[in-house]
């Protein structure tokens, strides 16, 4: 075994005279710094007996010189070189950010988060405005909307989502019917399960669940795609060539999600109704024909209109939020992940808030 870093010492006039032995390197340091600290004042350091020294060893020596005003003797040329490299004042070199108290940090975070939410809201509205302007510019310049891009997005946002949205809605239809039936049975009114499933699906749930799914599937994809394009400077390249990113990237995506949402929402409602129908048939012995007939009697046309009015608005919202967050990506890859998350969270949150407004609004119109 090779000698570890060690030292012996004798008492001098102004403190200990320390003589290092062994190898003064990081790998063999052991508890030497701690033991050295216990010595108290140190007058001199003798390096003549050491076998090797690296920068950590040299730093220990330098530190002792700075702290105790110790003198160094017996340094080999290598040791001298290392000591010279380290001898400049290092006190200006900072390692940590400034520390603050917990309360201060909490207030700081609350403040910053509030500002961030406010900025985000303004940013999305701003972005929406810029998009509308860009749309009008495009129309006035008689440039055609990029239908190829729209169709590609349409495939990704709409067609590819059909299986998962269909399955989800079908199951939700079953759940609503089953839970509703349990409650209504107590009053002998299980036939009203049809009202429950039919109206809830068309008016609210079909579309709302679709919006959440689309925000998760496509809003996030928009943010991630555009964010990556920002990182690789594709967006900047587009601008320098003279292609407007709004026209080439944002509009097709928003158009696709706006067109898709009513279709998907209607499809989801039908699937939920089908799920409810299956439960009514199997669980409540209501034959499908009766089920359909009853649906036609109880669902007013206004429920369908409500869905058709809400759907494109949700589509625009999801598209704009996703594209906006993607465009905000700067600096590094980590940002892409963060922005993707906030695209989904913001889209779902805004959709639900808006849905509440719509519910109150349409009720006041008398569309019950």
């Amino acid at each position: 075994m090779v000698a570890r870093a060690d030292f012996d010492y004798s008492d001098g006039a102004k403190g200990a005279a320390v003589r290092f032995t062994g190898r003064l390197t990081l790998a063999r340091l052991g508890d030497l710094p701690a033991r050295l600290d216990e010595l108290g004042p140190i007058e001199s350091l003798d390096l003549s007996q050491i076998e090797r020294i690296d920068t950590v060893g040299a730093w220990i020596v330098t530190r002792t010189i700075n702290d105790h005003g110790a003198t160094v003797t017996g340094a080999s040329p290598e040791a001298r070189r290392l000591l010279d490299a380290l001898k400049d004042d290092k006190s200006a070199f900072r390692v940590h950010r400034d520390r603050r108290s917990a309360i201060e940090r909490m207030l700081d975070q609350v403040g910053l988060a509030s500002i961030a939410i406010w900025r985000e809201l303004i940013g999305i509205i701003d972005f929406f405005g810029a998009m509308i302007v860009s749309l009008f510019v495009q129309i006035r310049a008689r440039r055609r909307l990029r239908w190829n891009a729209v169709v590609t997005r349409f495939q990704a946002v709409g067609v590819d989502a059909l299986p998962i949205i269909g399955l989800m809605s079908f199951l939700i239809g079953i759940v609503i019917a089953q839970q509703g039936a349990v409650q209504l049975e107590q009053f002998g009114l299980e036939v009203f399960t049809i009202n429950l499933v039919g109206r809830a699906s068309i008016r609210e749930l079909g579309l709302l669940m679709t919006a959440i799914m689309v925000a998760g599937r496509s809003g996030s994809a928009f943010a991630a795609q555009i964010g990556t394009m920002k990182l690789t400077e594709e967006v900047d390249a587009m601008r320098t060539i003279g292609v407007s990113p709004m026209e080439a990237i944002v509009l097709p995506r928003v158009a696709a999600s706006t067109i898709t949402m009513p279709l998907l929402g209607f499809y989801a409602s039908l699937c939920a109704i089908a799920g409810g129908g299956v439960f009514c048939w199997v669980g409540l012995d209501i034959p499908p024909l009766t089920y359909v007939q009853r649906l036609r009697e109880i669902i007013p046309m206004t429920d369908f209109y409500i869905m058709l009015i809400k759907a494109p608005v949700f589509g625009i919202l999801i598209g704009v939020t996703g594209c906006y967050e993607g465009m905000q990506v700067r600096q590094n890859a980590e940002e892409v992940g963060k922005r993707t998350t906030s695209a989904v969270v913001a889209a779902i949150f805004l959709v639900i808030v808006l849905d509440a407004f719509f519910a109150v609004f349409f009720s006041s119109l008398g569309w019950n």
Binding site: A27, R28, G30, P33, T55, R81, L86, K90, A333
Partner: protein
């Protein structure tokens, strides 16, 4: 002091004895290396020795597998055939996790893009290897080590708490170098350290590498495209072409060989410019 701590120290010291770089004449020995991706053979029957204490430049055209060679040596890429010995140990045959850790802390690797951990500040990046291998170092010493490493690689005093995203390209490279040097390794791998730097920054970086290698007694494996770097820093140069090392030697030795690629490389317009520049500098040094 508790017995537990004593035992830990003892373990640490035993680990330190496992690999002792200064005993070896050659830091790296490669024999018959073969790397293959599907049908594409990158290296075939490649031999290379890196002497302890030298700065070896590795050059070669794009796609000749310089980075793959480095990745093979540090164990990121398992060779199809052949043997790579680093300080007398063959990575392939090391099965013991401890043993491979002992070897790993003898080298530092600086990747082309810096590869700094983006969620950690520069100082924390430097402390990562220290914490990993020497968990008992106290925070004060860790901070001091981070501070002097930052200063050694020529970063400004306020660089320590900054995050990689806040640094310029040149600073990222320096921070990457600082992390590679965190454990005071005997062997340093540099993958295109001057790529993407402006000529002034590149020249300063060359100088820094030379200076650090001299002060710390480093062995350096330097992959580069930069002819000025070769002239400024390298003791010897290995030329990678035709799937193996076609020549190793000092630049004058290489110039004496007949191989067309080497002649093209060093005697092309850029090669001559770098050589002239070097001569001019030497004349100036001679006068003063």
């Amino acid at each position: 002091m508790s017995e537990e701590v004593q035992a830990e120290i003892k373990e640490e010291l035993a680990a330190a004895d496992a690999v002792r770089p200064e005993k070896f004449e050659y830091a790296i020995r490669i024999r018959g290396l073969r790397n293959q991706f599907g049908d594409a053979i990158i290296h075939d029957n490649l031999d290379l020795d890196v002497r302890s204490g030298e700065i070896l430049g590795v050059v070669g055209g794009s796609g000749t597998g310089k980075s793959v060679l480095m990745r093979s040596i540090v164990g990121l890429q398992t060779p199809t055939a052949g043997e790579i010995e680093v300080y007398g140990k063959t990575l392939d045959t090391i099965t013991d996790a401890e043993e491979s850790r002992d070897l790993r802390r003898r080298w530092g690797v600086m990747f082309q893009g810096g590869a700094l951990f983006s969620t950690l500040s520069v100082a924390e990046n430097i402390q990562v290897p220290l914490r990993e291998y020497y968990p008992r170092l106290d925070q004060r010493l860790l901070d001091e080590i981070a501070a002097y490493k930052v200063s050694m690689v020529g970063l400004p005093p306020d660089a320590g708490p900054k995050y990689p995203a806040e640094l310029s390209g040149g600073m990222v490279k320096r921070a990457g170098l600082a992390r590679a040097l965190a454990l005071d390794p005997a062997l340093l791998f540099l993958d295109e350290p001057t790529a993407g730097l402006d000529p002034i920054g590149a020249a300063k970086f060359d100088e820094l590498i030379r200076e650090l290698a001299d002060t710390m007694g480093l062995t350096v494996f330097l992959i580069t495209h930069d002819l000025d770097s070769l002239y400024a820093t390298c003791d010897r140069v290995a030329v990678l072409a035709e799937k193996h090392v076609i020549a190793v030697g000092t630049i004058p030795e290489l110039l004496a060989t007949e191989h067309p690629w080497i002649q093209d490389y060093f005697n092309g317009p850029r090669g001559r410019a770098a050589a002239n520049c070097k001569q001019a500098v030497e004349r100036q040094d001679g006068k003063s």
